[in-house]
């Protein structure tokens, strides 16, 4: 039933169109459609566990030299589909209560569009799919920024447009260069041509994808756009963006293209290590210098992506598996914290550290769930983030990269420091002047936060030996084996 793979793209796209058409009359319809679509997607993602398949959009394996588009469901794709769509569902539920009435149709439609983009990036078996996915998410983010029309948000939107444009252009260039040298845009066919050793064109393509998709992932030094976006976009969208969208169209697509299609050369791996390591420290340091919760969280996204890239850059199976696991943990914790930032914004009117305090008592559910999210992000047991960070560290030491290991430990300590600061200033301290709880946090928003908190608690269990082997290690195997992907797909 590989044709069911179409549904991962069609369900959100159709839902998005329907929201745009019918939501105007009643926001409740928009809410229902978006939630229903995200729920169906989540179910489909969960059902796809353990399955694999390939769907040729262009009808059968095309001969070399003709564009062949396909959707590929395999181990890594399943891991990412589950993460993306479950967080997407959380985002849809949260925004029912969070998003103001006037904005609902636009918000939900764009959320569906970006979910479709993320799913396409995850399933894409060809570079066109990757390009379209990147463009879809970027367009959704731009439209989300531009919704207020004028002022600071409009400026932020135009700045984002420049960055996103560069990103899309680089991916497009990478695709064209690849087509020029490999005479195909299908990743499996490209992979088969790589065996003979990298040519200059091939290296150029690697560089273009590394930068273009690294920009989407928020990798240092291509991350500058993120903070401006988070400042202006609705927090519910930032939550999904930082939680999963950037990881799907950035990290995951990069992993696919670099490892499976083009074959990651040792230099590429070293670049991933260096840029990942820099992202870890610079993201955490920049977060420590910020005084606004949303900005702090967005810089931590950069830092956490750095950990993932470090795991990938090792090129070992454990490193990649731990990186995938970390991506899941961070997605949950980061979305949770962003949603709580949104709840604080909803209740008190802002997320600046200067105007918060004593949230622990004033908004107990927000306080308690934020504590757990912060602890998971800091890598404190028994929460999920501890296990994934620990095993990235194991992988780094296993590869005898002691310098990177020490660097990563330093990054962890900075994360702990930043999260301890967040807890002190926002949760524990006396309420600061100017803070007033104007509105209660809606029950639905609190419920979503509670569910994500429960996930933070229990995700460590995913690393139990059986699940680890079946779910993460087998997925990592696909990535690690690199360009043999081509033979595997074409033989399927």
């Amino acid at each position: 039933m590989t044709s069911a793979l179409y549904l991962f793209l069609l369900v959100p796209l159709v839902a998005g169109v329907l929201v745009a058409l019918m939501g105007k009359r009643s926001p409740a319809v928009a809410d229902a459609l978006a939630t229903l679509a995200a729920g169906v997607l989540s179910l489909m993602a969960l059902v796809s566990v353990g399955k694999s398949g390939i769907l040729w959009i262009t009808g059968g394996v095309p001969p070399q030299g003709t564009p062949g588009m396909s959707l590929v469901l395999d181990g890594p794709a399943v891991v990412m589909l589950i993460t993306t769509n479950l967080i997407g569902l959380a985002g849809a539920l949260y925004s029912i209560a969070y998003v103001e009435r006037a904005l609902k149709v636009r918000h939900h439609a764009l959320l569906m569009l970006s979910l479709a983009g993320a799913n396409w990036a995850v399933l894409a078996g060809d570079l066109v799919g990757v390009l379209v996915a990147v463009a879809m998410v970027s367009a959704a983010a731009y439209a989300m920024l531009a919704h207020r029309g004028a002022g600071a948000d409009a400026r932020a939107a135009s700045k984002y447009l420049v960055a996103a444009g560069i990103g899309v252009a680089l991916v497009l260039a990478g695709m064209l260069v690849t087509y020029g040298s490999a005479h195909s845009v299908n990743m499996a066919q490209v992979a088969k041509t790589v065996g003979t050793g990298p040519t200059t064109w091939h290296l150029l393509a690697l560089a273009l994808f590394l930068v273009g998709l690294g920009l989407q992932a928020g990798m240092f030094p291509f991350h500058g756009w993120l903070v401006g976006l988070v400042d202006s976009a609705p927090t519910s969208f930032s939550a999904t963006l930082c939680g999963v969208l950037m990881k799907a169209v950035g990290v995951f697509a990069m992993m696919r293209v670099l490892f499976n299609a083009l074959g990651a050369t040792p230099t590429v791996l070293s670049l991933l290590l260096v840029l990942g390591a820099l992202s870890i420290i610079i993201g955490a340091l920049a977060a420590l210098a910020q005084n606004d919760l949303k900005r702090v969280l967005s810089y931590h996204t950069i830092s956490e992506t750095g950990f993932v890239l470090l795991g990938l850059g090792l090129g070992t199976r454990l490193g990649i598996a731990a990186a995938l696991f970390h991506m899941m943990n961070v997605a949950v914790a980061k979305t949770l914290l962003f949603m709580n930032a949104g709840s604080l914004e909803h209740a008190t009117g802002g997320t600046s550290y200067d105007r918060l305090g004593d949230v622990k008592h004033k908004l107990p559910v927000v306080g308690a769930t934020s504590t757990i999210g912060a602890l998971s992000l800091s890598g404190i047991p028994p929460f999920g983030g501890f296990w994934s960070k620990l095993f990235i560290l194991v992988a780094v030491v296993q590869a005898e990269r002691y310098g990177y290991a020490a660097w990563m430990v330093a990054g962890s300590i900075l994360t702990i420091a930043s999260m301890a600061r967040f807890q002190k200033v926002v949760l524990h301290d006396q309420a600061r002047e100017g803070m007033e709880t104007r509105r209660a946090v809606p029950a639905l928003m609190q419920a979503v936060a509670v569910v994500l908190t429960a996930l933070c608690f229990s995700m460590g269990l995913l690393w139990l030996p059986r699940i680890q082997a079946d779910f993460f290690m087998s997925a990592a195997k696909v990535i690690q084996e690199g360009v043999t992907y081509g033979a595997n797909i074409l033989g399927m």
Partner: protein, 607 residues
């Protein structure tokens, strides 16, 4: 289920239960807490009597009881039960009890897990979980503790990351995560690094310099009972347990590594006590003492000879007993007077005699006054240092002087504390407070008396039952030919002599009283001191801190020079400002970074 598992599972389940139960049920939380900690204690006693147990979980020997862990576990159980008993009295009428008892029980479970863990990954998880519970417990004190919570979670959490690093390296070095394996000599750089990382985690938990910064802050801000439970007793036991475990069992230390321990020990000892001497708050003063005493334990282990190590471990026990007791008396004073500031207290001995007696006993014990336990253990540490000196070199003189001098300063600061809190005149005047209830005074006086008994019968009880088996089990400490390494020193006779001396003194006093005593007014600078004037005691021993060389040390240590947290904060603040400059807006910085980065990537890949 394996017996060992009960020590972890029972308090853990009880803790979760207590945390989620509604507060309306009066007394239920307290009952569950007491029952669970009593069960833990009973199991700990049973395990102690069994001596050596290995428990398989998922077919792997995850938990193990050996000579070292069995006695630490026993004391974890004892402290757990006593502190919970005290808490029932102390925390009455306070809010957030569900959190308090829940996290206390979970701490107990995690502490048992740390001691029993035979698997390093389990050790890291339990260790870090204990740190998390510590920060949540301090937070129960409310918004006034927020700074202490932050500092604690950064130092303790940060060193957890170092512990994880150490464990990961050791795992890949030896191919196994078991703690039971051949000792590794610290001859390669990697082995040295691993040992130092382990030691950092142990130092932070125990509160040795330079990772001590959180202890006085937490001691002052946290609930007194929680401080007595974790930083004063359990964290000391566990920190030194880990240090002993890695220094004696996991690694074969070279003299250079032992030297690190000795230096850290000596600096901690003197730095801590110098800071204690100038404090104006009872709990903060005790917090610095808690730091200072760790110095003896670290020095003791650093000597790497049987007497010294035994002395260090024995002092760990004595200190946990005395310091736990002292913090409990601090809590009692706080409960009755609402403050622990030495400037606002005084004259409580008359009103709270049991609290005073416990505080006196514990203060004498920890200051190393014979015949208390603290004397016996410090004496053994001195012996260990002298034995170390027999091996050559002159550095041992420094350690010995530091240890002895630190002991004298400890006594001085306790005279100050006892005077400021219990003697003299009550600062507020008026009717003094009542003694605290039995739930609170019983644990205090028990610990105080145990501190005395452990000195008088040091060889017959604690050393024989706990310390000697633990030390004898270490291969590298075995004396050739199974010789006796303890210099048996008759503490019983010494005690009798001391008692005789006190008795003679009493006789002389009574005899002297028969004659008229000359009474006169007190003068200060030629002026008659009014009868109600009081001497706070906070200015005591300023002569010591005013001596030029000490003044310099004092000022240097007072400027937080010994606190790694302060350096870290400065460095991170500096770097973060740099990072902020780099992120001054997308078009100013971001675009340049993007293009420059892209050029670099292209240049590196497509040469």
């Amino acid at each position: 289920m394996e017996l060992t598992l009960y020590t972890i599972v029972v308090p853990a389940i009880a803790g979760i239960l207590v945390r989620v139960l509604p507060g309306a049920l009066k007394g239920v939380r307290e009952t569950i807490t007491l029952v669970a900690s009593a069960v833990t204690l009973v199991v700990a006693i049973l395990l102690f009597r069994q001596g050596w147990v290995e428990a398989k979980v998922f077919g792997v020997a995850m938990l193990k009881v050996d000579a070292l862990s069995s006695f630490v576990l026993l004391w974890v159980g004892i402290f757990g039960f006593l502190m919970m008993l005290y808490s029932v009295g102390f925390m009455k009428d306070r809010s957030r009890l569900g959190e308090y008892y829940g996290y206390s029980l979970l701490s107990l479970a995690a502490a048992c897990g740390v001691v029993l863990a035979n698997d390093m990954i389990l050790l890291v998880a339990m260790w870090a979980f204990l740190g998390l519970m510590l920060h949540l417990l301090i937070d129960v004190a409310g918004a006034s503790a927020s700074a202490a919570v932050k500092k604690t979670s950064i130092i303790v959490g940060g060193t957890d990351a170092l512990l994880a690093f150490a464990v990961v390296i050791l795992w890949l070095m030896t191919g196994s995560t078991s703690l039971t394996q051949e000792a590794i000599p610290t001859i390669t750089g990697l082995a040295c690094l691993t040992f130092i990382l382990f030691a950092c985690a142990a130092f932070a938990k125990a509160g040795a310099m330079p990772f001590h910064g959180w202890v006085p802050e937490a001691a002052e801000a946290g609930p007194a009972s929680a401080v007595a439970f974790l930083p004063a007793s359990l964290d000391k036991l566990l920190g030194i347990y880990l240090l002993a475990r890695v220094s004696l069992h996991l690694f074969n230390l070279t003299p250079a590594m032992a030297l690190i321990l000795l230096v850290v020990g000596a600096v901690t000892l003197l730095g801590g006590v110098m800071m204690a001497l100038v404090q104006h708050d009872m709990k903060r003063l005790l917090g610095y003492h808690a730091v200072s005493q760790v110095g003896y334990m670290v020095i003791g282990i650093g000597t790497l000879n049987p007497v010294g190590v035994a002395g260090g471990l024995f002092h760990m026990l004595n200190n946990a007993i005395a310091k736990g007791c002292l913090f409990l008396t601090g809590g009692a004073v706080e409960k009755r007077e609402g403050t622990t500031s030495l400037d606002k207290l005084g004259g409580l001995a008359r009103f709270m005699p049991v609290t005073f007696a416990s505080c006196l006993l514990a203060a004498l014990a920890i200051s190393g006054v014979p015949p208390f336990g603290g004397f016996a253990s410090k004496w053994m540490v001195y012996q260990g240092i002298v034995d170390l000196g027999k091996g050559g070199g002159h550095l041992w003189v420094i350690w010995l002087v530091a240890a002895m001098f630190g002991s004298a300063l400890t006594l001085a600061s306790f005279v100050k504390l006892l005077h400021g809190v219990f003697l003299g005149i009550r600062a507020r005047g008026g009717q003094g407070p009542k003694e605290v209830g039995i739930l609170m005074w019983l644990p205090m006086i028990l610990l105080g008396v145990v501190g005395l008994v452990f000195g008088v019968f040091a060889y017959a009880l604690p050393l024989k039952a706990f310390i000697v088996p633990a030390v004898s089990a270490v291969p590298s400490l075995r004396v050739p030919g199974g010789g006796v390494w303890l210099n048996w020193w008759n503490l019983g006779v010494a005690t009798l002599l001391i008692l005789a001396g006190l008795g003679i003194g009493l006789l002389i006093y009574l005899a002297g009283r028969a004659r008229a005593v000359r009474r006169d007014s007190a003068y200060v600078g030629g002026e008659i001191l009014p009868a109600e004037a009081r001497v706070t005691g906070t200015e005591f021993y300023n002569t010591i801190t005013d001596m030029p060389c000490f003044k310099r040390i004092q000022r240097w240590a007072g400027a937080k020079n010994l606190d790694i947290y302060e350096y870290g904060r400065d460095l991170v603040g500096y770097l973060a400002r740099g990072a902020k400059v780099l992120h001054s807006g997308f078009f100013a910085g971001g675009l340049v970074w993007l293009i420059a980065g892209a050029v670099v990537v292209l240049a590196v890949l497509v040469r």
